[in-house]
Symmetry: C2
Subunit: 351 residues, 2 copies
């Protein structure tokens, strides 16, 4: 085994999600294929050795930089968070989270039961000092690259303090993932004028105006829903109810449009011929907007970063969650979060 000191350490629950551990292992293999040259990562892999080891032997690219840790228990999808806490100790999910404290791992990834994963993570890793609530952040395709939206549903209602914490944590995450870009924070609202919106938003607005001076981000003010997909801002902050509705609405509209497009493009011979001609262009279109590329939601606010892959994604989708974890570890997310949250604390002490 290489010296782990200079490696970014990612802990992975191999057993969660549909078609696992095949999907998870193949996803890791796809990541390794893309990042082999870097050789600066190390995986702690949690699952049933007897199942997992023979499969790993057959992988093409994952030959080193990993350690399998034997766990016999699997957290099933129909378990409630409460019963999972009782029965889930020693499971692949539990151990993969725990490894952040025991094995000094940098980040944990699972495609398993979301509710259980969040509750276990809170229990094992604990909340960061000063944070009331964790937020769920996700990537959102935009005109020129990727935006980050949070909260996507962890908190139904949010205070002004929550929104400010989300802004600072989201900024730290964006900077970790895209170190070359300027961080531009916005608050999602129903108009761009300062007078619009709820009291919570107005209060968050004026505090973010002050916090902006600490240099963690540029605050661009309010945006409306149609700007989530533009480059007006790249860290879009909202409460979990609104964020979840926006995300699901976007998914619905995207499905609606693409299924209509497919229908019309396959309705007669001429249009079917057209699809052959435009095959490569349509493929590029599909590739760019492939939701698997945005797979992975990040829980922010815990003492260690935790990433949830979509349970139904495939190996390619899972490989992008692995990549997200790698970038989070490389970007030293939690160091950045702590630095940013100190600025909020300073503001509170002054104000």
């Amino acid at each position: 085994m290489d010296n782990l000191k200079n490696k970014f350490k990612v802990s992975i629950d191999l057993m969660g999600g549909d078609n696992s551990p095949n999907k998870t292992l193949e996803g890791i293999d796809l990541f390794v294929e893309r990042y082999k040259k870097k050789n600066d990562y190390f995986f702690y892999l949690f699952g049933d050795e007897t199942v997992v080891l023979p499969k790993i032997k057959k992988l093409k690219h994952l030959k080193s930089n990993f350690k399998v840790i034997n766990t016999k228990i699997v957290v099933s999808n129909d378990l409630s968070p409460m019963s999972a806490l009782k029965k889930g100790k020693g499971s692949s999910m539990w151990e993969s989270i725990q490894s952040q404290t025991i094995l000094n791992s940098d980040v944990t990834l699972s495609a398993g039961n979301t509710g259980v994963f969040l509750v276990m993570s809170k229990m094992i890793l604990k909340m960061l000092e000063g944070i009331d609530r964790p937020a769920l952040a996700g990537l959102w395709p935009s005109n020129n690259g990727m935006n980050l939206v949070l909260d996507l549903g962890a908190n139904v209602e949010c205070s002004e303090k929550n929104l400010i914490d989300f802004s600072e944590m989201g900024s730290a995450l964006y900077r970790s993932l895209f170190p070359e870009e300027e961080v531009k924070v916005s608050l999602l609202n129903i108009g761009s004028e300062e007078l619009k919106g709820t009291e919570v938003l107005k209060n968050a607005y004026s505090k973010l105006k002050i916090l902006e001076q600490m240099g963690d981000f540029k605050f661009v003010g309010y945006i409306e829903g149609n700007e989530i997909t533009t480059n007006t801002s790249n860290v879009i902050v909202t409460d979990g109810f609104t964020g979840n509705v926006a995300l699901k609405t976007a998914e619905g509209v995207a499905n609606f449009l693409t299924s209509n497009l497919k229908k019309y493009l396959s309705e007669n011979l001429l249009s079917k011929i057209s699809v052959i001609f435009s095959y490569f262009s349509l493929k590029k279109f599909k590739d760019k907007l492939d939701p698997r590329k945005y797979n992975g939601a990040i829980f922010l606010g815990l003492k260690g970063p935790v990433v949830k892959s979509h349970g139904a994604t495939d190996a390619l989708g899972f490989s992008y969650s692995v990549e997200l974890c790698y970038k989070i570890a490389r970007g030293k997310l939690n160091e950045k979060i702590k630095k940013n949250l100190d600025h909020v604390k300073n503001l509170d002490e002054k104000g």
Copy 2:
């Protein structure tokens, strides 16, 4: 002039919105072209006679069933609601609203300043008994037809009473527009389980379960954002903040997808040829999803129905707002609303 008793009477502010009165008059003419055979409509047209009359003479289809009422004042787009109330009396907008009380008109349409139009309408028509707040309802394309979403932004925060009123008023509107369809009401939430969501939503949920028995609608419970574009329900009820974010997000995603599609389809010779082959299919796709077909937001909760056309739409878009008004008048919207609201009152009295 025909006997007006058997006509559906629509009052139109000819002067509001971009490129008016050309757009508004041509839009009315397009409507008449489509509905000529019915001959069951009558227009009160409000604008400057010297400008409007020569233009009307040149129209192809609008030859009867209208009366021009001379108004010299125009409400400009940059006026605040407060100053418009002072200066706006006698304007085409004001008079077109007032005509519901003076001329017994059934409905009013304007493409002018939204804020002013809403404030004037509230002032002139007054709120329906028992309604605290008016809601803004809009059409939303779905798998098999059109859904109705409200509130789209008139109320930033909503009580459980508001959501229940919106459900009853939205049901009345849907039944007026689509008399053949079953009305299916849902509450927009972040999960379909009964336990999810805010207290306001949970309370509205249990009251709608009871109100459902009055027969105004079927209550299908909670839906998530991705179901707005499906036929799970056709009257989707939410607060104005969430509704506005969902609407704008949908617009943003639709723009993002279609502009990416265009880009990829025009990037090389092969794909350009493909567009020729698929021209008619793509055109059908575009036609079906043409936002001009959904043009027109309905203010619900006033003693008379009022429709706001998008200010920037063209003649075709305006013609669909005229059609919306015609259907609202034909469907006797306000009678239906009053009947439905009586059911809410009965529920309240019972406790």
